[in-house]
Structure formats: C-alpha cells, structure tokens
Amino acid sequence: MTPPDDLVRAVEAVLFASAESLTLDALAAHVGADPRAALGVLAKDYAGRGVELVRRGERWHFQTAADLAPLLRRTREETRRLSRAAVETLAIIAYHEPVSRAEIEAVRGVQIAKGTLDVLMEAGWIRPAGRREVPGRPLTYATTPGFLAHFGLASRRDLPGLDDLRAAGLLDPVDTVFDGATERLEKAGDSD
C-alpha cells in the first residue's frame, strides 16, 4: 500500500475505530472534510486484501474478505437459524417494501405467526415504515441499513434477481383474490 495522505489516513482510522458503519456525514463530522475521495482511495487500497472497505446503503465499514470465511468461521458460533416463515417474510419485505402485514400474508397464504416480525425486528433487519393511507391505515414494514450490512448489499437494487422478478410481474402489488376464497365463492355471481 502506498502511504496515504492525511485525509485518507483519517478516514481509515475513523472507520477502523468505529463500532458501526458510518455515513458520509458522520465521517465528515469526524475528519472535518468531505470523505468521498478518500473513501475511493481506501476502497482501491484495500481491494483484494484480507480486509475490505464496503459500502452498505449510505454507510461504510471495513469487513473481512468473504473468501476467508472458512478460516474465520471456525472460531465463531453459527448464527441462529431463522424459521422458514421468517426467511420468507424477510424476503417479501425486502423485495416489496414498504409492505403491510396483510400483503405479506397474501403472498404466503398464511397468517404471520406472532413472533415472526418481532424476530426480524430484533435482528435489526426490518422496521415499521409508516402507515398506508387506505382504510384501516395498516402499518407497513421496510428493511433497515442493518439489513443491507448483514447481507452484504450495497443497496436494495443489489437484491438478487430483483430486476428479473420485477420484469416477470412477480413483485406487482399483491392480488388478494385468493385471500378470501370463501368470499370469492359467495361473490362468484357478482362482477369484479
């Protein structure tokens, strides 16, 4: 690595010392200058090393290179497995956000069990994202910066297959026609 200039060193030290991912604003507040150019230099300096500079949403942090996972995982406990319901719910929120509980249930075809959203919220991956201005004003959910950081996404646009799913119409507003199957039966005579 070439010896960096003062600003690069400063940004490097602040990012290294921080327990959290940092926004550009937070970085600027610490180093007293626009950190963007320095971040570019650092990203290049650390590319291919055992530690890398990554951007997650609007935040930056250092983390170990992914290919070294086997080496490091040895000392770590496997993170607790999420239930299938939680994984699906998280995926639905990530790909559809902001999305209401009823909409999640419409995709999965079952009610959300009590703890499912709690688990995802406790993990810091989802958050309430305001109410939808429709009858009942349902609360909606969206993902957090912590979600991007945990799953190594630079932004929601990096969600795997997002564009394909959207092109296939699989992310369109959820059609709740099957939700009330009985309702449907009763209404079978009525027009849509």
Partner: protein, 242 residues
C-alpha cells in the same frame, strides 16, 4: 407425483398455498407450464386422504371447496358470459404460486449470501470506538442581557402608587342640593347659584359639573325646567309651573 408428498401429514405445510406449491413442484415442470387442473386434482385427493386421519384445518377445507369449484368451472362447458372466468382464476392461482416460489427462492439466496457476523466480520476488538462529546454553546446577546437587567430592575423597584387626594362633589350630593334649592326658588336661577358658595378651584368645577348632571336628571324627571338662550349663555333653572 411424489408419493412421499402424499403421505406427509398436514403439519408439514404452512397452509394450503404451501401444500399447493409443494404439489406443483412435484410435477417437476416450470411453474408456468404447470397443469392447474391436475394440481387441483392432486390437492383434492390429498385432502380426502388426510380427512380420514385427522381433522383438517379450516383453511385447507376452504381452499378445497374453492378448488373444487374451480375444477368444475374448468371442466364444464364454458358459458360465454361466465364470471369470473375460470381460466383467469387458474392463471391467478398459478401466478400466486410463482410469487410464493420466487420469494422462497429469494429468501434462500439471501440466507446464502456472505453474511456479516457469519461469513464476513467487522473488527473484532471493541477498539478505540468513536466518542462524541457534546458541548452546548449558549446563545445570548448583549441586548438580552441588558434587557433582562432592565426587566429585573423595573420589576423589583419599589412600586409607588399615589392617589392624589381630590375634593369632589358627588352626583348624589348635587341632586339633593339642587332639588332642595329648587323648592324655595320660584324664578329662573342660573346654575352657578346652586353651587355651594364655599367651593373654589377644582372642587367648584366638580360641583358645577355634578350640579349640571343633577339638573339634567331632574329635568328628565320633570322636576325642573331648563333654559339657555344661546351656546355658552347662562343656564337657567326653575321649578316647573303646574
């Protein structure tokens, strides 16, 4: 069709849609090319099979009823104006299965990513950490300071309330006096004559004003006649002639 899928009990599925998706997948074709009719038949067969062994959850039965309706609609000769169109309904069911399948796969792909804390790691040591020291810059201008002192001084300066003692003749007194004097006067008399002769200065002006008001009041009651020939001419009073 996978025979195992048929023998697994319902608890294995999270609701009828999950079961339908499992059955659809067991056809081992693209979900888009799936035969909805055969899928419906599988589901109904499965539910019948289960019904002998355990109590079916309501939502499975509701779905079964709905699928039975769909099946008959798909098989029966088409009425031109049939609504809802059974093909449309079949298509929606298919889309719904595709959606759930897509989300299930997306979830699996998410979980398989290099995850922070499992595959990639942040700095392990608590490290130096970043600290923020908060300092308050108090905002106050010299004017605020001076105005505050003025305010305090004005507020706490001994307050003097002086009521200047002033002799007045009240309206009541004037009424009594004018009325009494009228009783003894027959001719026109200038109003000044009704003022007590001893009053001077401010008291006299007060007495004159009160006497004037008394005269107006007595006139209203018909107890006095007033006469004034011109503006600022002497105001004359006398007892009414009855």
């Amino acid at each position: 069709m996978d025979d195992d899928a048929l023998t697994v009990e319902l608890e294995g599925w999270e609701g009828p849609l999950d079961l339908l998706l499992a059955l659809a997948r067991s056809q081992k074709v693209d979900l888009r090319a799936i035969s909805i009719l055969s899928l419906v038949e599988q589901y109904l067969a499965f539910i019948e099979d289960q019904a002998e062994r355990l109590e079916l959850a309501a939502d499975y039965l509701v779905m079964a009823a709905w699928l039975a309706y769909l099946k008959s609609a798909l098989l029966l000769p088409r009425e031109p104006e049939q609504d809802p169109d059974p093909d449309e309904l079949a298509l929606r069911l298919q889309l719904r299965l595709e959606r759930l399948d897509a989300m299930r796969e997306a979830g699996a792909r998410l979980m398989a990513r290099d995850r922070l804390g499992r595959d990639v790691f942040r700095r392990g040591a608590a490290g130096e950490g970043l600290t923020t020291v908060r300092r308050t810059g108090w905002q106050v201008e010299i004017f605020d300071l001076i105005a505050a002192y003025g305010r305090v001084s004005a507020r706490t300066r001994p307050a003097l309330h002086v009521v200047a003692s002033r002799e007045v003749m009240t309206l009541d007194a004037a009424l009594a006096r004018v009325a009494a004097m009228l009783a003894t006067r027959i001719d026109w008399t200038a109003i000044e004559r009704f003022v007590p002769p001893s009053s001077t200065g401010r008291l006299r002006r007060s007495a004159l004003a009160s006497s004037f008001l008394a005269a107006l009041e007595l006139a209203r009651q018909g107890r006095v006649e007033l006469d004034q020939r011109a503006p600022f001419a002497p105001l004359m009073l006398r007892r009414p002639r009855s």
